[in-house]
């Protein structure tokens, strides 16, 4: 049975390198991906916080959206997302969400406006692996007659994250030091055209590096040859993003959660909150005005037992008020952390709650996120 599953799993251009590095490979979003290398999740996590971690995120969907003549690509894309795309300056990028008609989140994604004047009719998109087919079909259908979408299947995506990421990458591509946080552009390195963005999903300074698939292994090996860099699997990627308070699609956000409920209101600009014009904007505007019924919050359980996804959250009187959507043991804090949705009445920082772990209530508190200070490069 497992053989058939393995047979249909897709492989990224770095598959052979992962295996050679001794990775434990697991199925994730239809790909065979490294969950950890021999160092293990805990060491890989701490290494990323201390030095630089290299992640294969080639399973994510990269695409170039190109306007048809006479169409403003940013204005057209704003019909699908609540983010302020029109205000993006050349080379600037933004986190936003694709929404359905109820304001539910179809996916979260990164949108970059290219730098060059001749590319101002384009947007570079990076979406989640597990959603890329649906996202791209949705965007194509919604922007039919306005824009075309080119899936960049011939490119791999590497993420280099950590306090020494800039130093490491600058040895190979010196100009990257000029990039500020949430900016990206094309770089030529030797014969390869790279798209390097200063962003990431760990709470650290770092970069996402889009490389031609046939050059991916060589770039990964050159980065891993640097003394500060180590390969990091999806296991540590998950604990790193959770410490940073960042959502994992399909767990912390999905089609039933709006950006307001998901505590992603910061990703909707003042203009867009007022003007609307995105899917579900009436519902979202009402939630902004009246407050959502439930909210995604950070949670610190007492003791050492992690509360995992699906754990029921109770108030002090043991009435059900929500559930955990992600939970792990934080290697940085050496303590369990979680996030989940609670009734708005219990969402204030410091609110005491109980978590039903293996049939017993476990005391916990609502806490602000991120769980650790962010160290982005501004």
């Amino acid at each position: 049975m497992t053989e058939t599953t393995d047979a249909v799993l897709r492989k990224t251009p770095l598959y052979a390198l992962h295996v050679a590095l001794g990775a434990k490979m697991v199925p994730f979003a239809n790909y065979s991906m490294p969950v950890n290398y021999p160092a293990g999740i805990l060491k890989e996590h701490l290494h990323t916080r201390e030095k630089a971690g290299l992640f294969d995120v080639s399973h994510m969907g990269q695409a170039m959206l190109t306007a048809l003549p006479g169409i403003d690509i940013a204005a057209a894309f704003e019909a699908l997302v609540p983010g302020a795309i029109s205000e993006l300056k050349p080379g600037q990028m933004r986190y936003t969400t694709l929404l359905n008609a109820q304001g539910g989140i179809l996916d979260d994604l990164m949108v970059t406006r290219p730098v060059r004047p001749e590319h101002q009719h384009q947007l570079f998109l990076v979406v989640n692996a597990g959603r890329k087919q649906e996202d791209f079909a949705h965007i194509e259908a919604a922007l039919d007659g306005k824009a075309t979408l080119a899936r960049m299947e011939d490119r791999a995506l590497l993420a280099l994250q950590g306090p020494t990421a800039a130093k490491v990458l600058a040895r190979l591509v010196p100009e990257v030091v000029e990039l500020s946080f949430m900016h990206g552009r094309r770089f030529r390195a030797g014969t390869d055209e790279l798209i390097i963005s200063r962003c990431g999903y760990t709470g650290e300074d770092g970069f996402e590096i889009s490389v031609p698939a046939n050059a991916a292994e060589s770039w990964a090996q050159r980065l891993l040859a640097e003394p500060e860099a180590a390969p990091i699997g999806l296991g540590a990627r998950d604990s790193l993003r959770l410490e940073a308070g960042l959502c994992l699609y399909g767990h912390d956000i999905d089609e039933t959660t709006t950006p307001v409920e998901a505590n992603l209101l910061w990703s909707i600009s003042k203009r867009r909150r007022e003007a609307g014009g995105f899917p579900g904007s009436t519902i979202i505007q009402a939630q902004i005005k009246d407050g959502p019924k439930r909210l995604r919050v950070g949670i610190r359980p007492e003791g050492r037992a992690p509360a995992r996804e699906g754990t029921i959250i109770l108030d002090a009187n043991n009435a059900e008020i929500g559930h955990v959507t992600s939970g792990t043991f934080s290697p940085t804090l050496n303590a369990p952390i979680a996030m989940g949705y609670v009734a708005a009445s219990h969402a204030a920082d410091g609110s005491p709650i109980n978590l039903m772990v293996r049939g017993k209530p476990l005391a916990a508190h609502v806490v602000p996120m991120p769980f650790i200070p962010k160290r982005f490069h501004r």
């Binding site: 293990g40 999740i41 060491k43 996590h45 992690p306 995992r308 792990t328 043991f329």
Partner: protein
């Protein structure tokens, strides 16, 4: 000479008279990865073979530990509560979870000895 037996769920039990120390195999700790939490049974707890009796959690997930035999818990290795990584470092010695007084030694006949368990995990690879 003490005898060690293994279950298909990767618990081991090392016998000393009527009492057996129970833990998870070295293979199991390798599969789980970094262990960050263990939940141990209270001494005095009575359990039947195959019942969930303890929990071990890695960064990634929780796993149940099943009682390899029927009996009564006599002691829990409380040192693991503050140092769960001991299970990674010494799964089949210092990383024991609890001790159990066996009430039906015949159950041991259904478990594997070290050689049989080695063949069993090689078959899983």
């Amino acid at each position: 000479m003490t005898k060690i037996f293994y279950t298909k769920d990767h618990e081991w039990i090392r016998l000393d008279g009527d009492i057996g120390a129970v833990g998870i195999s070295n293979y199991a700790q390798e599969q789980l990865g970094d262990i960050v939490f263990v939940e141990l049974p209270q001494p005095g707890t009575k359990t039947a073979q195959g019942d969930e009796i303890a929990v071990v959690e890695s960064v990634k997930a929780a796993s149940e530990i099943y009682a390899p035999v029927t009996g009564e818990i006599t002691e829990a290795n409380s040192a693991l509560e503050d140092a769960p990584a001991t299970v990674n470092e010494a799964a089949e010695s210092d990383g024991w979870f609890f001790k159990i007084r066996l009430t039906n030694k015949a159950e041991l006949d259904g478990l594997m000895d070290a050689g049989a368990y080695q063949s069993f995990i090689e078959g899983l690879a």
